[in-house]
């Protein structure tokens, strides 16, 4: 198929113009002035270069990118749009050429009419693309996922197809080859889309993990500030109550009935507001080890759910323990689970926890009420022995194993006045 030179030049010019039409209809970046400069200068330049060389496609991409983007910033969205438009124009010209080759008789010079038919096809296809692009709000999608990876994929796609078409032109086999290029284009596009989707899911997962981490971080900060407020509040509560007590005593010793009554009214009124909250363990503030802290929070909550009244003391800040932390958490977990289970079975449900530290040791005391049972502590330590049927045992044998493993652990059990207490001592 041969093309009339004038017609060929006209087609090239209009193809270039179509690029700008497509680009400006999907991208609204840059000031009007910049956009006018872009089209006025680079349309002719592209057109001129195209007549003598095959690398003309690069010009609108680079120039558009550097003119329209904000200075000193990377703008992948803009780059992606430019690449995308180039790609679409390429596809459209290839498509229209394929159609022309099929419908026009061979060995005839294609004149202006032929070119106009081809351009007509191109314009229709591009209009359809623009229509769907706008209708499906493809722009927001592009904005959301515009990244370096997508730009790389598009560049790769463009490079490959330009190379193929260059080769086809070089061997003067374009007309025979145009169908092959079509198929190759489709395969490449499918491949790139597939890659794109893969990357997208990975990106999404990464994004989600990042958000979750951030959320956790925020929660931690929030907890810290709550703890601080809690401490201040409890200090205030203490001072306030002390003051009230003193007032009451003065009023009583002066035999001032009215004043006493009024103070008592104030007392009962403020008691309502200074009442301890649902989850008030200011001692948790002193636990600086995240693993132990979250274990304690979880277990205190669990106990609360089972209506066990909890009391927790920790006077000195706890940072680290002398055995590997996971083993420590496991031992404490077993002891706390036992304590909560035992306490929840009896009428007087109570659980007391204490963390004690001095120069030579750290101690955890877990003290709970329990229903009287007739199994000695010695037997409870054996594997699989439990206070109940169908129960896997108290895990005291596991604790015994840890006791063997670390020479600085001592574990004591005691029963007294309806309380069972387990004491874990870690020597420094």
């Amino acid at each position: 198929m041969l093309i009339d030179t004038k017609a060929y030049i006209l087609r090239s010019l209009l193809d270039d113009l179509l690029f700008y039409v497509l680009f400006f209809s999907i991208n609204r970046q840059g000031t009007v002035r910049k956009r006018v400069i872009f089209i006025l200068f680079f349309l002719p330049i592209t057109f001129l270069v195209e007549l003598y060389s095959d690398i003309s496609d690069v010009i609108p991409i680079l120039s558009g990118y550097y003119i329209l983007k904000v200075k000193k910033e990377k703008d992948y969205l803009l780059l992606n749009d430019l690449l995308f438009c180039t790609f679409i124009i390429f596809c459209v010209t290839t498509l229209s050429s394929t159609i022309m080759v099929q419908i026009l008789p061979h060995n005839r010079i294609v004149g202006l009419t032929g070119i106009f038919i081809q351009l007509f096809v191109e314009i229709i296809v591009i209009s359809v693309i623009i229509f769907f692009y706008k209708k499906n709000k493809f722009h927001t999608v592009a904005e959301k996922y515009g990244s370096a990876t997508i730009a790389c994929l598009l560049i790769y796609l463009l490079l490959v197809i330009s190379l193929i078409s260059y080769a086809a032109h070089y061997y003067n086999a374009y007309d025979h080859f145009v169908f092959g290029i079509m198929i190759f284009l489709i395969i490449q596009t499918v491949f790139v889309v597939f890659l794109f989707l893969k990357i997208l899911t990975r990106q999404k997962a990464k994004y989600k993990a990042q958000i979750e981490k951030q959320e956790l971080e925020n929660l931690k900060k929030y907890t810290e500030s709550l703890e601080k407020q809690q401490q201040q509040l409890s200090k205030f509560r203490h001072d306030y109550k002390n003051l009230l007590l003193s007032f009451k005593e003065i009023a009583k010793s002066d035999y001032s009935v009215v004043l006493t009554e009024q103070i008592e009214m104030l007392e009962s009124y403020s008691d309502k507001y200074l009442d301890k909250g649902e989850f008030d363990y200011k001692a948790l503030y002193n636990i600086h080890n995240d693993f132990i802290k979250s274990l304690l929070i979880a277990k205190l909550h669990q106990a609360k759910k089972l209506d066990v009244i909890c009391h927790f003391e920790c006077q000195k800040p706890l940072y680290d323990v002398m055995i590997p932390i996971f083993d420590c958490v496991r031992i404490l977990g077993i002891l706390l689970d036992n304590a909560i289970e035992a306490a929840s079975e009896c009428d007087n449900r109570s659980l007391n926890l204490m963390v004690y530290q001095d120069d030579s040791q750290i101690e955890f005391i877990i003290k709970n009420t329990y229903k009287k049972l007739n199994i000695s502590i010695e037997r409870l330590q054996k594997r699989g022995i439990s206070t109940k049927k169908n129960h896997s045992g108290l895990g005291l044998d596991t604790i015994q194993e840890f006791n063997q493993k670390y020479p600085n652990i001592f574990i004591q059990y005691q029963q007294e006045d309806g309380f069972f207490s387990a004491q874990l001592i870690l020597l420094k």
Partner: protein, 247 residues
Amino acid sequence: MAYPIILCEDQIIQLNQLEAIVQTYILFHTDLFKVEIKTQSPIEVIDYLEKCNPKQGTYFLDIDLASSIDGIDLAEQIRATDVQAKIIFVTTHDEMMPLTLRRRVEALGFVTKDQPLDDYRAEIVELLTLAQQRIDATRECQECDFKFSIGSQMFSIDKQDIYLIEPSSLPHRVLLNTKNGHYEFYGNLRDLEEKYPYLFRINRNCLVNLKNMTEINFKSREIKFDSELSRQFARGKSNKIKNLLKQ
């Protein structure tokens, strides 16, 4: 000689109230106690400790003392000079740390201030009675406790509660079984046998307190302490055990 009572509370009104309750108790119940010092400042208590070196005192302390040292620090200093001190904390409910204070300074008891006056008084009286009982008990029997320590903590177990002692599976440690506890600490049977003559060695690996056994079978050579706990004794020990049980 009367045993000293020491009161330390930063709020003068509450201090006076506390003193009134204690004085009334002494007036009607016992002349064994005497209020030696009442003060708002812990420093004064420390001066008193240095000057008079009191023994077996009973101390009522508030925790928040509006001073550089709080009631807990003060209690530790008291414990250091007066080993058998009976320490009672008087404080608001919020500050209460019973387990920590028992462990750190072996506090005898706790009274919460923010409760009706009658209950408050009743609790103080109860603790004073307890303090008196404890003081009497230590006078009678200084040496009958079984003592051992782990790190910084001293354990003191009543002789009457002890069942048996045997070696632990860990080297240099022994296991102690008592009526209501199970302990492990560093030690060996030979030293313990020497130190506590009331413990009898029934075999190479077991010291028992024969007073607490519930059942003995000379045929199977089994000695029982409660429904779960039993040990075999050595063949040669039968006669000796029989003799000891006759005593």
